[in-house]
């Protein structure tokens, strides 16, 4: 039996492989000349300051590099994360992969999401000269220009953006790409203000291929840590970087690790929180679907720093693709020897498991999460002790968010000083936000913390056609704040009464009724309350009812003050963060949009949204008398008087359910909802 063995004495200076035959080391093997290193290995060595790259990684990097930047073939990368697949990427991939004429000149790969969700399906064609042609909104007929670009290796009509590798043939991150030609400004502007440190591989590499991740310098930080650094070095570096947890609270990651490292316990655990319950946030999903090995490497570095042998990823079941890709990543890392016993020949061993949640928002709260993993109902418990002191089955447990872990390999590779070049002193680094709602370019964006919200929304998201009224930030425990010139960092958001939370940014225009939206969010939190605290369970349900009274035209000024008082009580008396923060949307809207509550109390809905407070009306100047609304109304609530023209349309307001089908279906926008004096 011949197997490569590792000389433990060589560990500190990199690994030297020897040949072992039936357990006997052959000394001749040591004299073998070192194999020549692939250019990518030299490139990574000089670029990222990594020396002594283990042969295992060097070999995989060379393999991955040939896949990622083929020298003689074009490579078509189809964005196949959840958003891309929902927009039809699967069919496009099937059509392109089935082409026999690609055999010698083009490879087709499924990649993750580059973040530009607004133009899914998105296809990247890389030609051997290091150019990337990006095609957005690729519909069924849109595959021809892609095929021609791959074949002829030059620009075809239909491409949106051409990027060029800074050093052609080397691609280790989105940052290695320069814009060469802008054809569609939407896509160029979307990327212009971003800094992609953490999401730099997303949409470029194949998430199911370990070698491609390694070709971008992946697992080098882990190798360096395991072979050359002490656990304390890692904790010191993370502490120096000032990295704050991305799961919502913004707790300093270094301090948390330090706390767990200090405990004397022999069994410790690391858990990656991928419950991502905040509606409107999908950064963890995108990272897991697009660059799962970065997440694993972050977990591995944390595990090494805290001297942990067991880690878990806790994923919500609504994310089947993320679960599949993380599972796949664990299996391939294990097969390559990057997980399991004595990783890379060091004395460090690690197993990573996956736990799937079954649909309960409160389980994202760390003590509730632990409860589920112990086979119990996901009810939060009182802290202290903090999980870092006594967590899963009583063992010290470090729980961090997925995005937090994804930051770690970057910091360990580039150093804390460079990390601090982005962001502010108190909020260093970059943050991923999910920009959605009434904005023309929605997607997944990575920006330095402290960036102005107007920059994110107008420069990246594109000025929307309608004026923006408010921003809903940080999920249902975040806040709703007026659109204006504030900065996105932990301190500013706290001063506004909101929270960055996990980073959802929902843009709301004047058509959105804030009282109705708050009612919806409070209702969500009431449903998700675990029920341990009476004030959280019944208080939130009652609060929803009061808000409902306003939207249903049953409220008055007393309702508004009752809402305010009850919210304070819920906030002060609840045990866990769910109850305490569930009223943030109420507080922020009462602070900034109080008049909307008062208008509802008077029976008006300024957004003309709440069914009980609106009526429908025809705008005669726009109506062409085409009868579409009349035909469509399920209630027969639109009546036609004899004659011709818009004057003959009458709404039977008693019959009308305000389903808005007529409003949506009128091609001329001749039907409008009105509220208040107009009715």
């Amino acid at each position: 039996m011949i197997a490569p063995a590792i000389d433990p004495t060589a560990l500190k200076g990199g690994i030297t492989a020897g040949l072992q035959i039936d357990g006997r080391m052959l000394s001749e093997a040591w004299t073998e000349p070192a194999p020549e290193r692939a250019p990518i290995v030299d490139f990574l060595t000089s670029r990222q300051g990594l020396t002594d790259i283990p042969d295992l990684l060097a070999d995989l990097a060379a393999k991955g590099h040939e896949l990622l930047c083929p020298g003689s073939m074009s490579r078509i990368g189809i964005g196949a994360a959840t958003c891309g697949l929902a927009a039809g990427a699967g069919e496009r991939a099937a059509v392109l992969s089935a082409r026999h004429d690609f055999a010698n000149h083009t490879v087709v790969r499924k990649v993750g999401c580059i973040g530009a969700c607004f133009c899914e399906p998105l296809v990247d064609v890389r030609t051997p000269d290091g150019r990337h042609y990006l095609f957005g909104k690729v519909d069924k007929s849109g595959t021809w220009p892609i095929i021609h670009t791959a074949k002829e290796q030059r620009l075809q009509k239909g491409a949106w953006l051409v990027l060029r590798e800074r050093e052609p043939g080397f691609l280790t991150s989105f940052d290695d790409l320069l814009v060469e030609k802008v054809i569609n400004h939407d896509l160029a502007d979307f990327f212009a203000c971003q800094r992609r440190l953490i999401s730099g591989n997303c949409g470029l590499i194949d998430p199911e291929n370990l070698a491609e991740y390694i070709a971008t310098g992946g697992y080098f930080a882990a190798a360096k840590a395991l072979l050359e650094q002490q656990p304390a070095d890692l904790i010191a570096e993370i502490a120096a970087s000032g990295l704050r947890g991305r799961g919502g609270g913004g707790f300093p990651t270094g301090a948390k690790w330090e706390m767990a490292a200090k405990t004397g316990s022999s069994t410790k655990i690391v858990i990656a929180n991928a419950d991502e319950g905040d509606p409107g946030a999908y950064m963890d999903r995108t990272l897991m679907e697009s660059d799962p090995h970065r997440v694993l490497e972050g977990i591995m570095l944390a595990a090494y720093a805290i001297r942990v042998q067991q880690a878990h990823i806790f994923i919500r079941h609504e994310y089947p693709l993320a679960i599949r890709r993380m599972r796949h990543a664990i299996t391939s890392a294990r097969a390559a020897g990057l997980l399991g016993n004595n990783i890379l020949g060091s004395d460090f061993s690690l197993e990573i498991g996956i736990t799937t949640n079954a649909g309960a928002f409160v389980c994202g709260e760390e003590t509730a999460l632990l409860s589920v993993m112990e086979g119990k109902r996901g009810e939060p418990s009182r802290r202290p002790p903090y999980p870092a002191e006594a967590g899963l089955n009583g063992h010290p447990t470090v729980i961090n968010n997925i995005e937090t872990f994804a930051n770690v390999p970057w910091i360990m590779t580039h150093g804390s000083a460079r990390y601090r070049e982005a962001g502010t002193a108190a909020s260093p680094g970059t943050k991923i936000f999910c920009l959605t709602g009434d904005v023309s370019r929605s997607g997944f964006v990575e920006v330095p913390l402290g960036i102005g919200v107007t920059t994110v929304i107008e420069k990246i998201g594109g000025a929307p056609p309608d004026p923006i009224k408010a921003i809903q930030i940080g999920g249902p425990s975040g806040g709703i704040v007026p659109y204006g010139s504030f900065n996105l960092d932990y301190e500013t958001m706290a001063a506004l009464g909101g929270m960055i939370g996990s980073g959802g940014l929902v843009v709301l225009n004047n058509a959105c009724c804030l009282v109705d939206l708050v009612q919806h969010m409070v209702g969500f939190m009431a449903d998700e309350s675990c029920g341990r605290c009476l004030i959280c369970r019944d208080g939130l349900a009652r609060l929803e009812q009061l808000l409902h009274d306003l939207t249903e035209h049953r409220g008055n000024d007393a309702t508004v003050s009752a809402i305010e008082q009850l919210s304070h009580a819920i906030c002060n008396l609840s045990l866990c963060g769910l109850g305490r923060s569930a009223v943030h949307p109420v507080f922020t809207t009462l602070r900034f949009f109080r008049q909307e509550y008062e208008q509802h109390a008077r029976g008006e809905c300024p957004a003309a949204y709440c069914s009980a407070l609106i009526r429908l009306k025809i705008v005669p100047s726009r109506c062409t008398d085409n009868q579409i609304c009349y035909e469509l109304c399920p209630q027969r609530a639109i009546q036609l008087d004899p004659g011709r023209g818009p004057e003959r349309y009458r709404f039977d307001h008693a019959q009308c359910t305000r389903c808005r089908l007529c409003l949506d279906s009128c091609p001329h926008g001749a039907i409008v909802a009105v509220s208040g004096e107009d009715t």
């Binding site: 959840t82 958003c83 929902a86 927009a87 969700c117 899914e120 991502e276 319950g277 905040d278 509606p279 409107g280 946030a281 999908y282 999903r285 995108t286 067991q310 079941h317 609504e318 994310y319 089947p320 197993e351 990573i352 498991g353 996956i354 736990t355 799937t356 949640n357 079954a358 649909g359 309960a360 928002f361 589920v372 086979g375 119990k376 109902r377 996901g378 999910c434 959605t436 709602g437 009434d438 929605s442 997607g443 809903q472 999920g475 959802g504 929902v506 959105c512 939206l517 919806h520 969010m521 969500f524 449903d527 675990c530 469509l632 399920p634 389903c659 808005r660 089908l661 949506d664 279906s665």
Partner: protein, 163 residues
């Protein structure tokens, strides 16, 4: 994937064994069973109770805690409407109402003929395509209430009640 022998004692042990050592939590076993049957049959809960030494009453308490777990069979098709913030702000509630009004549903959201189960889900993570519908696990974005009838008819054409 584990193969289930319907109702056989030991199937839970099989599921349990098939999971990696680090993955052997009750919630993973429950999710795996539900993935297979679409719901959690009573017999399987008895088996889980035995395997994990959790009293049956506690296990039911656990199952009812999670909104994603069901103890009754589902329809042949499953439609879930996303009711996350982004989808809600873009009108998903109206889509849901339209679906509900078009079909006759029981308390579990299943139509009497077993054709479809309609439910709401919190954010499925495709907010840029809001409002989002999940039809038999496949996401469809930018849905308008107006399209609902046509989409249901399309499903009905491909529906075979004998399955």
């Amino acid at each position: 994937m584990t193969t289930f022998e319907n109702g056989q004692v030991g199937e839970i042990e099989q599921v349990f064994q098939a999971l990696a050592g680090t993955d052997r939590q009750v919630v993973n076993v429950l999710n795996t069973i539900q993935e297979h049957y679409g719901y959690l049959p009573e017999q399987s809960l008895h088996d889980v109770s035995r395997q994990f030494g959790i009293p049956l009453a506690n296990l039911y308490g656990l199952v009812s805690f999670f909104s994603g777990l069901r103890t009754r069979p589902v329809g042949r098709n499953q439609i879930a409407v996303c009711c996350g913030t982004a989808c809600y702000a873009r009108g998903s509630e109206k889509v849901f109402t339209r679906l509900k009004e078009t079909m006759q549903l029981d308390a579990d959201g299943t139509s009497e003929d077993g054709f479809v189960t309609i439910s709401k889900v919190p954010c499925v993570g495709a907010c840029s395509l809001a409002p989002v519908l999940s039809v038999n696990g496949v996401l469809e974005g930018k849905i308008k209430p107006l399209q609902v009838t046509a989409r249901l008819e399309e499903l009905q054409r491909n529906d075979s009640p004998s399955d």
